[in-house]
Symmetry: C2
Subunit: 232 residues, 2 copies
Amino acid sequence: MDIPARTSVLQRVPFFGGLEEDQLATVAREAHERPLKKDETLFQQGEEATHGYVLGWGRLRLDQTTPDGQNVVLRYMGPGDLVGTVAVLRRIPFPATPVALEDGLALSWSAPRLAELMERFPKIALNAIGVIGGRIEELQARLQAIATQRVERRIASTLLRLANQSGRRTEAGVEIPFPVSRQDLAEMTATTLHTVSRTLSAWDQQGIVESRRSSHLVIRHPHRLVEIAEQG
Amino acid sequence: MDIPARTSVLQRVPFFGGLEEDQLATVAREAHERPLKKDETLFQQGEEATHGYVLGWGRLRLDQTTPDGQNVVLRYMGPGDLVGTVAVLRRIPFPATPVALEDGLALSWSAPRLAELMERFPKIALNAIGVIGGRIEELQARLQAIATQRVERRIASTLLRLANQSGRRTEAGVEIPFPVSRQDLAEMTATTLHTVSRTLSAWDQQGIVESRRSSHLVIRHPHRLVEIAEQG
DNA sequence: CACTGCAATTGCTGCAACGCAAATAAGACG
DNA sequence: CGTCTTATTTGCGTTGCAGCAATTGCAGTG
């Protein structure tokens, strides 16, 4: 990918928001490219955070594993998202593992480079605060949801969030354009794949969603889900 | 409080870490003082974030209320903690309400002042990233706990965390030096006050904790709690 | 000192959701 | 085209925990 191409990717990255075209070009020049194949991991939870990444295209799932082997899906990430950069800035090991859901490409900068960039462009540090703050908000929202809502409602909210973040409009409804297994949904909503399966089956029969095996999820009637999410 | 006194408070604030004595004095000079009485709120969730605060002394409980009236305790805060500052930097309304658990004092800076300080001392922006990152970590840990552990274990972990953050060693064990109601614990561990009550009663009878009505919580045998927390 | 109000305790009941297990379907691969 | 593997469905039994309600105990107030 040449520098102008990289630059245009970086233009859509909030982390670099407010930088001039030529400044972005500078940033772009100093990046390394890291191609990603489906199912590949960008790095491993626990590794030393030597590089920070920006996802150019593709999709990632961010997994966190507990000491006793349980898994939690922290978030899904798409083009323009920051991956692992917070860990680099805080000088702590990566707290989670990003897994590629499809082929993609990430741009990376080494830890010293990042520090240098932030020093040269103070705007970046402010942007970082905004990005991280957004994640805090999201985490707090999920915490609240898990703490106070019951499973059906959480699943509905999660589907709607996925649809808003990455849904594609089709004649049949809103489609979620990457594979999401029952296990994934279970780990996102803090329940079991059994319960997710039952819930989706029920919704499928009611015509709210289309969730046949192995095809992408389609939400036929988002407003029905909204009803469930808002007050179940 | 005079400037040297303020300065010595700020020395223990990670947000201002790495600043020179005279720089801290500058920061201190530009602060406003805000005395706090027990049960008073520093600001209200939803208000515009015009000022950022640092807690000089005293203790706060940070509450978040859902649209439907449910309450979640986000965290307890003590001297040196940052309150509401993230919201100021992100230019969003305060996402939660800090309630004073005892008389205390906060220092505050207006939004423009804070922006100016960060510009003048870029180190502050980096510190902010560190502080916020720490909160993300804590939130993720809680998310994991709620998602994968059962109630007894979560209560044990929460008590241990409180003890580590603010516990005082006494002959009887480790004391938590501010009042924590069953309701509070319930909101922290995502359960009901009933279940918390039952659990603490059981532990009290087993001699693990001392949790009589209206006296401060005392953890007699932290290691027993650790056992419960680590593998229940 | 009695009264009032709030926090905590505790027994009981019901249910949402978990866990197991067996059946089923669908891709993947040779 | 058959076989293997993996994801999903679904029935059934179990249970952790919430929800309700009645009681108790403590603290502050007049």
